[in-house]
Subunit: 170 residues, 2 copies
């Protein structure tokens, strides 16, 4: 029996393996950011790039003030406003998402295609990743049609244990 084909090949949403080569993730993200900004006629300035790099330091969502600390490790004097402004910019262009349940930010691996993000958040390794939200969105739409509610934005953040951490805890 052949392996079952993936349902959504355009979204390779595997939870990041604890020992993967993360430098490639970061490199990819920065390259994508360049492309996206170019396409949007937006400027990826130094501070914006540095914030994006801080966000991509891992797959764990990071708080604005932790980003700030990272930017100021060299003794710099960057203020919170600068970070929040950069984050706003990055979110506008779909390069970063905000996780409401954590007051934290995470890089978007699918920045080229616009989408509403649905997250899985592992309470053990703290990693978060976007899930394929099509089925959920469909279920939401169906449920809402009975209410007459017109959705504009879906905030979906599932907390739990990723496969790697679940295995370990077994």
């Amino acid at each position: 029996m052949a392996t079952r084909p993936r349902k959504t090949p355009s979204k390779p949403q595997a939870f990041p393996h604890p020992h993967h080569d993360h430098s490639r993730c970061t490199a990819n993200a920065l390259r994508t950011a360049e492309t996206v900004c170019e396409k949007h006629g937006a400027r990826l300035t130094e501070i914006r790039r540095r914030v994006l790099e801080a966000v991509w330091a891992s797959h764990a969502p990071i708080g604005a003030y932790d980003i700030l600390a990272e930017l100021n490790t060299d003794g710099g004097k960057i203020a919170p406003m600068a970070v929040y402004r950069a984050l706003d910019f990055l979110m506008e262009h779909g390069l970063v998402h905000r996780l409401a349940s954590l007051n934290a930010f995470i890089g978007c691996a699918l920045a080229s295609e616009r989408h509403t993000a649905h997250f899985l958040i592992c309470r053990s390794c703290k990693s978060a990743t976007e899930m394929d939200g099509t089925a959920v969105t469909r279920a939401v739409k169906k449920t809402l049609s009975e209410h007459g509610f017109v959705p504009e934005n879906e905030i979906i953040e599932i907390q739990g244990l990723c496969a790697h951490c679940h295995k370990e805890s077994a």
Copy 2:
């Protein structure tokens, strides 16, 4: 043809009509709170009751500091801690939910039966209500099984326009 039966008769989740008799909602909620606390062997003290009343002042989620202001309208000196402690208590007993996307709290109309809450939030009238989350939960489970992710808590908050506000804006 007879009217189609409701799928989830135990959860009458209509979005609150702008001109409904809200005093009944409040009265119901307080009565339920009494019952629940009795059943749990917990004490619905005065401050807890007052916080619950503040939460039920409307169907719009309310911030902790707005609750605090409400409690201190008489010139009282209640401190933030007291409010947060009362909210923690009320959440433990399923009488109140927290909306992560708003940093705000809302009374639970279904406090008697334990459940994970999925919310619809109207950006116009600011009301929020729990939706029937069974279909969404099913979709989430199905999607997650492909990831091997083990869910423990679902944060689902759909922002948009309720039927009443949508009609008006038409």
